[in-house]
Symmetry: C2
Subunit: 752 residues, 2 copies
C-alpha cells in the first residue's frame, strides 16, 4: 500500500515554505498568518473569505482592477452577471427535473449567481450583493430540510437538489465560496440557519447517505471531497476537512489524498482520460489551493507526489489537439476544449504556482481570469507581455499510479502550416468511463479529426435525450472495441467486455523514440485483451521530403486461427478506392448482431483486394489516403454507423473495416498520408491522389520489421523497427543486394 505513506496528516511537520518567488512568499505569508496563523481550530475561520478569494488579497485586487485590463474585464463580466441576477426574482424551486430541465438548470444558475454576487460583494463592499446571497441561501435553508432524494434519481449516488449527487457536490463547491464571501455580513442566527439547514445536512448527506460514492477513487468523489473540505474550512470544522482528505472514516482508504495517489500517474495523466481529467481538474486544483491557503502547515499539497497536481494541468494541455479540443478518449464529449471554465482555474492557479508562461496563452484565449490573487498575477503577467506561445509537442504519457500501466503516445509533426497528430492509446481501462479500445489510434490534422475516436453516446444536459445521461448506445456501441480504430478478434470486444478483467490487466509500452522530427516511433503492446493473443502496434510518423507519412504496423501473435477486423473511422467524403466493391445500394443490413457490430450498416463489400490497396477521402478541403497491404484472405467492408439505433442517438458516420480471415500470426501494414487540397472558392484542386507507389515488408521476423515505401516520384524510404525494446541493439540485415545497419529501435533511410 504505497499510498499510505503519504496519507498520514503532517501534524508533526513544522511550518515550512516551499520555493516561491520573493513577492509571493510575502503574499503567502501574510495570507497564512492572517487566515491561518496557527494550526489550531479557532484559526480556520479567523478571516473570511479564506477559500480562493482571500480577505488579504482584496485590496490588491481592487487596485489591480484599475491597472490590468484582463482583470478589469473579468471583474466587469462577473459584475454584469451579478447585477442581472440581482434584478431577477429569487427562485429556489422544488427539485423535479432531469438534467436540462427547468429545476435542474435553475439550481445551477443559482449557485453561479451566488458565487458571482459573493465575489462582487468582496470587491465592491456593496451590501446589496451580500443581501442577495443571503436571501437565496435563506431560501435554500427553508427548502433543503424538506427534501428527500430527488424524484428522478436513478443511480447509486443521488442528489436532493439534483438528480445526481455529482451536481449537488458542484453546487456545494460554488455555494460555500459565496457563503464564505458574505460570512462577515451575516448575523449569528442567519449563519446558524444556513449552516444547520443547508451546509451541514448536505455534508452529512454526502458523507453518510452517499458514503460509498464519497469514498470512491473517482471524479464524483473529488467534487464531493472538495465541497466537504471547503465547507470544513469555512465552518471551522476540522472533521469535515479530515474526512475530505482521508475519507469518511479518516482512514486514508478514501478521500482527496488517496484520489491524488491513485488517479494520477507520475506524468500527471488522470486514469479516466482527458475528458474527465478536464472535469476533475477543477475540484483538484481549487481544493488544493484552498488547502494551500488554509492547511499548508499540515500538507504541502502542490508538492505532494512530486508536484503531480501542477503536472496534471500541463499534461492536460498536451492532451489537446491543434484547435484546443481535448483528445476524445473514453466517454468524452468532443466539444470540450481549453476554453472550458475548469481550465480558467487550472491555468491561473498553476501559472501562479509554476510561472509556466505557455499557460498565459491559454489564459489569454480565455480572455478572463479568476478574481483572486492567482488571476491578478496572470493578468499582471499578460499585461507585462510575458505570454509565450503554447507549443504542442510529441509526448508519451505514462498511465497508472506508479506509471507502469501503459500510456498514451502523441506523435506530432509540423508540415508546411499543418500540424499532424497521431494518438496511440494503450493505457489502463479508466474505470467505468473507459472504453475497450486497447491500442487504438486516432489522427488529427490542424484540429480536424481525420481518424476519429467516436467518444461517448450522450447529449450533455439535453433533457429529451434521457436528461443528458449516457445513452444505451454508449454501452452497446461507443465502448465496444469495434467502435475504435483497433483490432477486433472474432468480432468480440476486448476482455469480452468485462470491466473487472479489463481493469486488472494493462497494456505496456514496448518502446518509443520521439526525439527526431524525421522519424518518431511508438510501440505499445497488450497481451491480455484477447486470450492467447499478443498484440503489438508500432506507429511511426516519418517525414519524407517534408511530407508526413504515418506508418502503422499491427502485429498479432496468436496460434489459433481467427478473424481479425480493423475498423478505420475516417471522417469526410469518400473520394475513391483502388479496388472494386459491391455496394449495397437498395438493401442495408447490419454487420452483426452484437458487440457493436449491430450498429454498423454494411454499405459495401469487397473481396477483390490483393496487394497494395487504398481508400481516399476528402475532409475540410484536404485529401487523405489510407493504403494497406491485402492478400487473398483479405476483405474490406465500407460501413456507416447507425443501425439498431431506434432513438437516433448515434452520429451516422462512415468507416472502413479491414477483415483478415483465417489469420493467426499476422502483421497488418498500413500507411496514412495527407495530400493536396481542394479550394472550391478559387476552384483550384491539387494532389488529389496519394504519392505512394509501393508499400511492402522487406523483412518481418521476431526481431524486426523492415518496411519499404516507394513514392511515385521515385523516392525510396526504408524504415526498420525493433519488435522488442532494445535501445542499444545493433541491427544488420542484408536483403538482396542492400545492407541495412542501425543501432537502437528504429531507423529510416531515404534515397531520392
Amino acid at each position: 500500500m504505497i499510498g499510505l505513506n503519504y496519507l498520514s496528516p503532517k501534524k508533526d511537520k513544522p511550518f515550512r515554505f516551499i520555493a516561491l518567488p520573493f513577492y509571493l512568499v510575502g503574499i503567502l505569508s501574510m495570507l497564512i498568518l492572517s487566515c491561518n496563523p496557527e494550526p489550531a481550530n479557532e484559526s480556520l475561520t479567523g478571516e473570511h473569505p479564506c477559500l480562493i478569494l482571500t480577505a488579504n488579497s482584496v485590496p490588491e485586487l481592487q487596485n489591480g482592477i484599475s491597472d490590468f485590463p484582463l482583470l478589469s474585464s473579468s471583474f466587469n463580466e462577473i459584475k454584469t452577471k451579478a447585477d442581472r441576477s440581482l434584478n431577477e426574482e429569487i427562485i429556489v424551486p422544488v427539485p423535479r427535473d432531469l438534467g436540462g430541465g427547468y429545476t435542474h438548470e435553475k439550481h445551477k444558475e443559482n449557485y453561479l449567481s451566488m458565487y458571482n454576487a459573493g465575489i462582487i460583494y468582496q470587491i465592491t463592499g456593496e451590501e446589496k450583493y451580500a443581501g442577495f446571497v443571503k436571501a437565496m441561501l435563506l431560501e435554500y435553508s427553508k427548502l433543503y430540510p424538506t427534501l428527500d432524494i430527488h424524484p428522478q434519481a436513478k443511480d447509486q449516488a443521488p442528489g436532493k437538489l439534483f438528480w445526481q449527487g455529482l451536481n449537488e457536490s458542484v453546487w456545494l463547491v460554488y455555494s460555500i465560496q459565496a457563503y464564505d464571501c458574505i460570512y462577515n455580513s451575516l448575523s449569528k442566527e442567519e449563519k446558524d440557519s444556513i449552516e444547520n439547514n443547508v451546509f451541514r445536512p448536505m455534508v452529512n448527506f454526502f458523507t453518510i447517505y452517499n458514503k460509498t460514492t464519497f469514498d470512491k477513487i473517482h471524479n464524483h468523489a473529488t467534487w464531493a471531497t472538495a465541497g466537504v473540505g471547503m465547507t470544513g474550512i469555512v465552518l471551522n470544522d476540522t472533521t469535515y476537512v479530515e474526512m475530505a482528505l482521508y475519507g469518511s472514516d479518516k482512514s486514508g482508504e478514501g478521500g482527496f489524498i488517496k484520489q491524488i495517489d491513485d488517479l494520477f500517474s507520475p506524468d500527471g495523466f488522470y486514469a479516466e482520460g482527458p475528458y474527465y481529467q478536464r472535469y476533475a481538474i477543477m475540484p483538484f486544483i481549487v481544493f488544493a489551493q484552498v488547502l494551500e491557503n488554509n492547511w499548508k502547515d499540515k500538507i504541502d499539497i502542490f508538492e505532494y507526489k512530486d508536484g503531480v497536481l501542477n503536472k496534471a494541468v500541463n499534461t492536460l494541455v498536451q492532451l489537446s489537439n491543434s484547435n484546443g479540443r481535448f483528445f476524445p478518449m473514453n466517454d468524452a464529449i468532443k466539444d470540450k476544449d481549453l476554453q472550458t471554465a475548469e481550465m480558467i482555474f487550472a491555468a491561473d492557479i498553476v501559472y501562479y504556482n509554476t510561472q509556466n508562461k505557455e499557460l498565459l496563452s491559454i489564459a489569454q484565449n480565455h480572455d478572463k481570469v479568476m478574481i483572486s490573487k492567482e488571476g491578478l498575477e496572470v493578468a499582471r503577467a499578460i499585461n507585462a507581455g510575458l505570454t509565450e506561445e503554447l507549443v504542442r509537442k510529441s509526448v508519451v504519457i505514462r498511465d497508472g499510479k506508479n506509471g507502469n500501466l501503459g500510456g498514451v503516445a502523441i506523435l506530432r509533426g509540423d508540415f508546411d502550416t499543418n500540424q499532424l497528430s497521431l494518438v496511440l492509446k494503450a493505457n489502463s481501462q479508466g474505470m467505468g468511463h473507459g472504453h475497450f479500445d486497447r491500442l487504438s489510434i486516432s489522427i488529427f490534422e490542424n484540429g480536424n479529426e481525420i481518424l476519429q475516436d467516436y467518444g461517448s453516446a450522450r447529449f450533455l444536459n439535453i433533457e429529451q435525450k434521457q436528461g443528458g445521461r449516457y445513452l444505451p448506445e454508449n454501452t452497446s456501441w461507443a465502448k465496444q472495441t469495434v467502435a475504435h480504430n483497433t483490432l477486433v478478434i472474432n468480432q468480440e470486444s476486448n476482455f469480452n467486455f468485462n470491466l473487472k478483467e479489463a481493469s486488472e490487466k494493462n497494456p505496456r509500452i514496448v518502446y518509443y523514440d520521439i526525439n527526431s522530427p524525421e522519424l518518431q516511433v511508438a510501440s505499445f503492446a497488450d497481451s491480455n485483451c484477447y486470450e492467447g493473443s499478443v498484440l503489438t502496434r508500432t506507429v511511426a510518423m516519418a517525414s519524407i521530403k517534408n511530407k508526413a507519412y504515418i506508418l502503422d504496423i499491427f502485429k498479432v501473435d496468436r496460434e489459433l486461427p481467427a478473424t481479425y477486423d480493423i475498423p478505420v473511422y475516417y471522417l469526410g467524403q469518400l473520394i475513391s478506392t483502388s479496388f472494386n466493391y459491391n455496394c449495397n445500394t437498395s438493401l442495408l443490413k447490419p454487420m452483426g448482431v452484437k458487440n457493436g457490430y449491430q450498429h454498423l450498416w454494411n454499405t459495401a463489400h469487397s473481396s477483390e483486394i490483393n496487394g497494395l490497396s487504398s481508400v481516399t477521402w476528402l475532409n475540410d478541403y484536404r485529401f487523405y489516403t489510407c493504403s494497406f497491404l491485402a492478400d487473398e484472405n483479405s476483405e474490406v467492408f465500407l460501413t456507416r454507423i447507425g443501425a439498431n439505433d431506434p432513438e437516433f442517438n448515434l452520429r451516422n458516420e462512415p468507416g472502413i473495416l479491414f477483415r483478415q480471415n483465417k489469420a493467426s500470426n499476422y502483421r497488418f501494414l498500413s500507411l496514412y498520408e495527407a495530400h493536396g487540397s481542394s479550394n472550391s472558392v478559387l476552384e483550384l484542386v491539387e494532389g488529389t491522389k496519394s504519392s505512394l507507389k509501393e508499400l511492402s515488408f522487406l523483412l518481418k521476423n521476431d526481431d524486426v520489421n523492415i518496411v519499404r515505401i516507394v513514392l511515385k516520384d521515385g523516392t525510396i524510404a526504408t524504415l526498420g523497427f525493433s519488435v522488442q525494446n532494445d535501445e542499444n541493439a545493433e541491427h544488420q540485415y542484408n536483403i538482396e543486394d542492400e545492407t541495412f545497419k542501425w543501432t537502437g529501435n528504429s531507423f529510416m533511410a531515404i534515397v531520392e
Copy 2:
C-alpha cells in the same frame, strides 16, 4: 421582341457622358480620349493595354501602390505569384486530362501566371515579366495549331486545351489580357505568330466550330463572348467585337447584349440562380468594363437595361446568407461565397460605377483589389474609411427578362444576435442547371443551413469524381422535386421532370409584404408544375415577443385525390419527436424506385400522428422545431439520403417526409422555431423545447387563412393571410366571440 430595341449598335448616338462624380469624369474622358479617341477602327488598339488595366491608369496606379495599403498588398501578392512563375519552367502540355487532372490544372495555372506577369510588367516595366508571357504564348502558338478536340471531351461544346470549351473561354479572357499588357513589347513577327496561331484560331473555334454554344443565352456563352470581344478590342478586329455583342451572325439573336436582355431580370436576378450568377458575373462585368473603356461611344453598357449589370451585383450580394455563402439554389456548390475571385472584379467595378459603400466591406474582406483604376478607387475609399457595413435585408427579387416569371423571396429577421433567413424559391426553371423545385423553401440562421437545399451532386475539379463533372446523382437525385423542401404529388417530380415544359411555364408572385419587421409575408403560386393542381405557398416570418416564428401554409387546389409528400431536409441531430415511430433498425430499404425516392433510405415511419406534431433537432448548439398539423390521413417518414449511390457520391444527410394520403384540396400548416441553446463548453443548456402549445386554422376558405398560435406562456398570436392578392381588401371575420378586422393581405394580433 422587346430586347431588339436595345440590340442595334448605337452607331448614330453621339458621344455622351453619364452622371459620374467630377473626378471620374476626368479620368474617363482621358481614358476615352487616349484609348479610343474616335469611334473608328484604327483607334481600338491606339494604346495597350486597353482592356481592364489601361495604359493611362498606370502612372496613377504606380503612385497608389505607395499610398494605399490594400493596393500595395494586392500588387505584392500578384508580384509574388508572378515571381514564383518566372522561377519555374514553362510547361505547355499536350492536353490529356479531365478537370482536376494534370494538364487541365496546368493550363489553368498558365493563364493565371501570364495574367499576373502581364500586370506586373505594366506596373514595374521590368522586361522579364513580358518575356515570360511572350515565351509562354509562343509555346501556345506552337501547340495550339496541332490540337484537335480534347481527348476527354464528352459534351456538346468541347475545348481543345480543356475537356470543355468553357475552360477554354476562361483561358482566353485571362490570356488576352496578358497579351494586351505585353503587346507593345512584341515584334510584329511575334504578334503575328501569337495572333494567327492562338487567338484567331481560338476565336474561330468558338464562333464557328462551337457556334451553337457561342450563340446560346447561357453563362458558357458569356465567357465565350467576353473572350472573343476582348480579343477583338486588342486585335483591332471590330468583327470580333460585333460577333461578341450580337452573335456569330451579328443578328442580335445571340451575343452579349441578348444575354443581358434575357438572362437578367429587371431586378438583376440571373436566370440560373446565384451560383451561376456568381460565375457569370465576372465575364459580364469585366467585358462590360472593357466596352466602357473602348466602345462607350457605341454602347453605354452600364446604363443598358436600366443599369441592370450594376444591379445584378448588388442583387447577388443579397443572395448570400449571413456567412457570405450564396444561397445554394439549382446546381450549386455550397462553398461559394462573396470571397470568390469573381466578386473581387464585381465589387471593385460596381463600386467604381455606383459608389455603393457597402461593396467596400466586401472588398475589405477580400483583402485585395484589382490592379486597375477600379481597384485603386476601392483601395483609396477603404483607406479613407468610407466602408459601410453590408446590410442583408428582406427582399423579393423578380425573375424573368421582364420580371414576370415568379421570383425569389428572402425574409430576414434579426433576433438577439441571430439573423434568421427564409428563402422561398418560385422562379423560372433556370435552364439546364435548374432544379424541379417549385415553391421550395430553405432556412438559415447565422449562416448555418437549418433546412437545406441539397445543391448539386458534384465534386468540383476532383478528377476521381468523374473529373469534377455533374455526377449521375445530380440528375437522379439533386434535380428531382423530392430532393427539395417542397410538395411532391404522387411521388413524381414537377413537370414529370421535363425540362422543356418546365422552362415554358413559370410560377408567379401572388403578393408580398416585407416592410414590417413584426410580420413579413410572401405568397407565391404555381399552376403548372403538377397537372390539374394549383399550389400556393404563403410563408411568414413573425416576431412574437422578440422571437422568430416561421409560418408555412402550403395550399393545394386539386380535384383528383392524390398522395402529397413534403420533405424537410433539416441538418443536425434528431433530438425528439412528439410521436411514436417504427424505426427500421436492422433493415433499410429505399423510399421508392424512381424520381429521387430511390436515393432516400426509409429509416423510420409513423402513422400514429394526428393533430399538432413536432420534430426537434440540434444544429450548431441551437435547437430547432418543426411543428405541423396532422390528421388521420397523415404519415411521417424519417429518411436519410444515400440509397442507390454505388460510388458514394451523395452526402448522407437526414430528412423528414410528411405524407398526406388521399388528399385533394388541402392546406398544410407548419411552424418553424429556433429556440434555446446548448453550450457544452459551459455545460449550460436552455430552451430545448418548442415554446408552442397550440397551432390551428381558425378559418380557411377561398379568401383567407387565419391561423392561431398559442405559446406555452399563454401568449396568443392570430395571423391572417389573403389567399389572393388585394392590397386594399378590407377583411372582417367573426369567429366565435372574436372579431378580426384588417385591410390588406396580412395581419397579426398578439395577446399576451
